[in-house]
């Protein structure tokens, strides 16, 4: 089944959020079967930080939190 347009937009939004704030790198090449994807790992990291239920999936609470206005502190390396 193709994802609905809404779902795709949310997935893209979440991906760009994780890239920006959790250093998610592009997923290129095949993933190991059965392994946890980098996106899921980053999602879990974010859910842990915000004391959300750690599901590793883009649930409503996680998406809601991603959409709140926030600070985007740049990478410390740049400052160094």
């Amino acid at each position: 089944m193709p994802l609905s347009q809404d779902n795709m937009e949310e997935e893209q939004f979440a991906e760009s959020y994780l890239k920006k704030f959790y250093n998610l790198t592009e997923e290129t090449g095949p993933l190991l079967r059965g392994g946890v994807s980098p996106k899921t790992k980053k999602l879990m990291e974010m859910q842990k930080f915000f004391q959300l239920q750690i599901t590793g999936t883009l649930d409503a609470d996680t998406l809601d939190l991603m959409k709140r206005p926030r600070c985007g502190v740049p990478d410390v390396d740049i400052a160094q």
Binding site: K20, R68, P69, R70, C71, P74
Partner: protein, 371 residues
């Protein structure tokens, strides 16, 4: 709190700042005041001193820009990212950039209060990273704060003092730094408990925990993050299944919310529920879904309001211990769950059968609010 690590901090306590440009959203005087006040938030609790310069390179360069603004971290238009700042170091280190596409305000709760955003960013400029304490200034999400009454929360004070130490100069005693309530604190007395569309809400100070039966971990957040116009430190709360609204009580006023929205003509007087004018505040409120009655606990008495007929029941107030055996202390919060009535008194929760008034168990907060 957290810091950037590697002892990333300024090696001097005397820092300079420069405001490079202004936002058209506010007057220049308001921007100057907001920036100065935001720096003073940190200066008050550390030996740091900030001096403004008007030309040349300052330690903390402050500017407003939109989209690509020259640091390879483009802003994203309205909302989303509001600002960013760089950790202490030479060059771009310490600088704070504000997204000009936001609507910044001086102290209104429409738009983003520049003081609050700046105070957070300057935390980064001084060496603090994001905190996972939802009450901390360094929590990564914006929440409204009034520049005139803002007090730096305890978590941020601990964070900045771990880098620079405390302020050795005596400062006039003032309000103490607020701490974030801890669900593991067995002495905590909740302000109010209510349900919301299947979730349980536990209120304490300016925070609430949301807990759903499907989740093992409650989520703590500021009340203002759910309802920006709701008061802090509420007295009582309940959810009406009749009107699908949550009611929050503070003093002689009541606020009604449907979802995230404050309902028209609210806040109202608590007399709108038929409570007598002599009642100045409600200690706890309980919604009984079977009968659609609302019980208002006031001191040692309680009132019963019929949510269907919208009138106060006759024969009230009654003494609480007439209906709930042994409940002679003040009821501080109340909840109905799976046919049982839970009356909170201090850090204890009393489980009753409403039908018989029989007390089954005395429990702790963590029965519903896991530590």
């Amino acid at each position: 709190f957290s810091t950037f690590g590697n002892n990333l901090k300024w090696q001097t306590n005397t820092l300079t700042y420069r405001i490079e440009n202004y936002t058209p959203d506010m007057s220049q005087a308001e921007v100057d005041y907001s920036i100065e006040k935001a720096l003073q938030v940190w200066a008050k609790v550390t030996p740091l001193k900030f001096t403004r310069i008007y030309s040349g390179i300052a330690d903390i360069m402050i500017s407003f820009g939109s989209r690509d603004h020259g640091d390879f971290y483009p802003f994203d238009g309205p909302d989303g990212t509001l600002a960013h700042a760089f950790a202490p170091s030479s060059g771009i280190g310490g600088d704070a950039h504000f997204d000009e596409d936001e609507k910044f305000t001086f102290r209104s709760n429409t738009g983003y209060v520049l003081f609050m955003v700046a105070a957070h960013e300057f935390g980064h400029s001084l060496g603090l990273s994001h905190s996972d304490d939802p009450g901390a200034l360094m929590y990564p999400h914006y929440s409204y704060g009034n520049p005139d009454t803002f007090i730096l929360p305890r978590d941020d004070v601990k964070g900045i003092q771990s880098l620079y130490g405390g302020n050795e100069e005596p400062i006039a005693p003032g309000p103490t730094a607020p701490t974030t309530p801890d669900a593991c604190d067995s002495t905590m007395v909740l302000d109010a408990v209510a349900t919301l569309r299947g979730e349980m809400l536990f209120f304490k100070d300016r925070f609430l925990w949301r807990h759903s039966q499907q989740s093992s971990t409650p989520q703590q957040t500021l009340i203002a993050n759910i309802w920006s116009s709701a008061p802090d430190n509420i007295d009582a709360a309940f959810e009406s299944l009749e009107s699908d609204q949550v009611f929050l009580f503070k003093g002689s006023r009541v606020w009604a919310f449907s979802g995230y929205d404050l309902q028209a003509n609210y806040p109202k007087s608590i007399t709108s529920f038929g409570l007598p004018r002599t009642v100045k505040k409600v200690d706890a409120a309980l919604y009984e879904p079977q009968s659609r009655k609302i019980f208002f606990f006031v001191g040692k008495n309680y009132y019963s309001y019929d949510d269907v007929r919208k009138t106060m029941d006759k024969g009230f107030p009654k003494r609480v211990d007439e209906t709930f055996s042994g409940m002679t202390s003040q009821v501080t919060a109340a909840l109905q769950h799976r046919g049982f009535t839970y009356l909170y008194s201090g850090p204890y929760m009393h489980e009753y059968s409403l039908r018989s008034g029989r007390l089954y168990r005395v429990l702790r907060n963590n029965y519903f609010l896991p530590c």
